[in-house]
Amino acid sequence: MPRCVTFLLFTACLLARPLAGQTQVSGVRDLSFGIVIAGVPATVAPGDPVKSGQFYLRYVTGGRARVRLTLPATLNRVGGGGTMPISFRNGDAFVLGTAPGSVPSSFNPGGLLNYRFTGSADANIYLGGRVTPAAATASGNYTAPVVLTATFF
């Protein structure tokens, strides 16, 4: 095979897939409601600097990603014995690039987010939500996973 053909194939491969290490998705901080009183709903705003959940995304400047969050409907009592509803609304999440002057963009965490990495190669996604424990909710620690899946283009 001529060298130019090999070069063309190699270039195509580079275009086809992000390089290993070029993309990154990681959970940074749990969405933490802290102490909740049974019978009293509690809300965490996505802008809460301590309690909101946080994911970190890295790709390439100008690249695009489609982001989907897999959200729980209930939190489960550690050790069993109960569940507690958790819900998310439009505006309970926002994405913020790391470039100076980046502006947060709110979105519905229950839907898809199409994001373009503008001015920087990485961004953070912040997540809030609300829990509505019933008055009879058993005391204890409750937890459930939140998964962010990003497809990079």
Binding site: I35, I37, G39, V40, G79, G81, A138, S139, G140
Partner: protein, 252 residues
């Protein structure tokens, strides 16, 4: 609202917090103090607080060295306040469990007045509500257990009253749940009860099972004592093996 209603402090951290929430429409003035008391049972088997007139060295009191921050506060309607509880135990405190009762006093706004006009007599009360909650301070490895004896049952009206002497074992109070099931001749549950229990030294509680619709005859009463409570996080409770016992009873 006060949460939690059972407060635990570990010697390693020497602090915890409680959350107060005002669900009402007016501000509430709060004051926090601590006393030494522990539950005993009265002559009819109901739990009641025993508050010694004076403390001696043998009493595991933490009341003197638990401090609340803030001690006084005003909570606006629908607002919450976190109160930090700090323990300052004496130097050389031996391993063990130490007890206190947190007294959370709440006063509402101005005294309500009756409807009399200015020429009449009107009456108003200033209401203060004191919630008295168990506080437990633990140092070192502790164990708890329960001894059950003297199970008796008597019928009273449309209830079967069950009594048992419960004696704490180990080095810490037994906090758990008592469950009782009355089994009919067919082995099916005919009545039951489930009550939280707190055994600091020894108590002799009475439990009631409704027997109004049950036919006369022999039954088996099954009792179970578990070191778990739905209202207290499992990691805060000291575990002990479940205890089960059963006795024959006859309903008239």
């Amino acid at each position: 609202m006060i949460a939690p209603h059972a407060i635990y402090i570990d010697h390693r951290t020497r602090s915890t917090s409680i959350t107060l929430y005002n669900p009402g429409a007016t501000s509430v003035e709060i004051a926090i103090a601590s006393i030494f008391a522990y539950p005993v049972t009265d002559s009819v088997g109901q739990l009641t607080l025993f508050t010694p007139d004076s403390l001696d060295a043998s009493m595991p009191s933490a009341a003197g060295w638990i401090e609340a921050f803030p001690k006084r506060m005003l909570i606006a309607p629908l607002q919450r306040q976190t109160v930090r509880l700090l323990a300052r135990p004496p130097q050389g405190l031996p391993d063990g469990e130490y007890w206190a009762r947190l007294v959370v006093s709440a006063k509402g706004g101005a005294a309500p007045a009756g409807e009399a006009d200015s020429d009449g007599i009107s009456i108003g009360f200033n209401i203060e509500i004191r919630s008295i909650l168990p506080l437990t301070y633990r140092k070192g490895a502790l164990k708890t257990g329960l001894g059950v004896s003297d199970i008796t049952s008597t019928t009273a009206g449309d209830s079967l009253m069950v009594s048992a002497k419960l004696t704490r074992q180990g080095t810490a109070a037994y906090i758990g749940t008592a469950k009782g099931t009355l089994l009919g001749p067919d082995g099916k549950a005919a009545a039951s009860f489930e009550e939280p229990i707190a055994v600091y030294y020894e108590v002799e509680p009475t439990f009631a099972l409704g027997t109004a619709a049950l036919p006369a005859g022999p039954y088996r009463l099954r009792l179970e004592f578990l070191s778990e409570r739905p209202d207290i996080s499992p990691e805060l409770l000291l575990r002990a093996p479940p205890l089960r016992d059963s006795v024959e009873v006859r309903l008239p």
